[in-house]
Amino acid sequence: MENSGQEILDKIKEQNIQPKKRWEFLFKNYLLWLAFGLAIFFGGLASSATIFIFQHATWVEMAPGFSPLKRLWVNLPLFWLLSLSLFCFLAWYDFKNTKRGYKYHPLVIVLFSIVLSMLLGVAMYSLGLGQKLEEAFFRRVPLYKQMFRQGGRMLVEPDKGHLAGIITNVDSSAITVEDFLGRSWIISTSTDEFQIGQRVMLIGQMSDDDHFICENIKPWVQRVGPPPPPMFFQP
């Protein structure tokens, strides 16, 4: 061992090994913090969409006949909760790899990330971002639309008077709704409050294969702002 120190020094000189620059380590640490911040930010967006759905879902009052399990399953904004979980995981991973992140118990980091995301989510929701995000995802993200449809299928029971789907046509006195099982229905109703692409739930009666007599129709989630007047079927 006597000359090992000198051997090491000689090797360092021979291979021209240099200490890495300080900025490289600082940069890596800043990147981790940035990644953590982004994870919290996107977690906040997911939280805001979740809050929006829970706060404005109208289907609850429209589905008194459904079992608690069905109501839970349909109401659960699975996509946003999974997204929130993913971002919280990423936040935990980034945080624990920072210089001092290892000092904190993983559970503490995870809870901290969840709380931070949710607080940010509340702020974003109050700015209307939750609604905008949810609607934008439904229009533009096929996966989200597919997951939504899958959940919505459980509410399609026209023979029992329950219908749920997307408005595909709006006339002066009727709307056409494609339910989540792919069937189209013509519903006579006043159409002021509805637009193509909107998701709706209906309670009523099936009159024939493609007509549904509507007793109550509401948007899937209530838009923020003054609520539209209740839509009732006018014979």
Partner: protein, 189 residues
């Protein structure tokens, strides 16, 4: 290189700063820690003397490359042990060899200390106790073995162990409790 005896009196942080200014000063850091780190490498990996020396060389080269990353809120020795620990794990994964604690490394005082701390019967013959203790340690999971070695053989505090293996202090406590139970169980076999 001319050895300057005064430099041996310098603190670790001063030597780090001096090394960043002039690489020759790195020799003093190496000489200060090489014996301790070599012993630690052999304890945790069970490598032969030559292999352990090679690994020690890799460790010091890595230390030199990462000197600008040294966080002064840590003890320099903890930072060194951390790099050494990571290098041993990396070497273990690369070679996929099962580490074995070499019997010679477990001196009688350490063996006695461990037996006392872990409520293990010390009435056995010295040689038998040492052999049983070494085998018991060797059969432990690496995560338990390393905390036992750091706490009882390297005499590191909980805080230092936390900095070395990069886990919270509470986790270190949990690992040590479980390690103790495992060791007692293995010893009785």
């Amino acid at each position: 290189m001319v050895i300057n005896e005064d430099k041996f009196e310098k603190s670790d942080i001063e030597l780090v700063r001096m090394t960043l200014f002039d690489q020759e000063n790195f020799l003093y850091l190496v000489q200060r820690y090489e014996k301790k780190l070599l012993r630690f490498i052999q304890r945790i990996s069970g490598l032969s003397s030559d292999d352990a020396q090679d690994l020690l060389q890799e460790v010091f080269i890595k230390v030199y490359q990462n000197l600008n990353d040294f966080d002064q809120s840590l003890k320099f020795s903890s930072w060194l042990y951390r790099i050494t620990h990571n290098q041993v794990i990396s070497n273990y994964r690369k070679n996929k060899s099962r580490p074995q604690l070499s019997l010679f490394d477990l001196d009688w005082e350490s063996c006695e200390q461990l037996a006392s701390d872990f409520d293990i019967n010390q009435s056995l013959d010295q040689g038998i106790l040492k052999e049983k203790m070494s085998r018991a340690l060797d059969s432990l999971d690496l995560k338990y073995k390393e905390v036992i070695i750091l706490k009882y053989l390297e005499d590191r505090s909980y805080e230092e162990i936390s900095d070395i293996i990069k886990k919270p202090v509470s986790t270190v406590g949990t690992l040590l409790r479980r390690a103790k139970k495992s060791l007692q169980k293995e010893f009785k076999k």
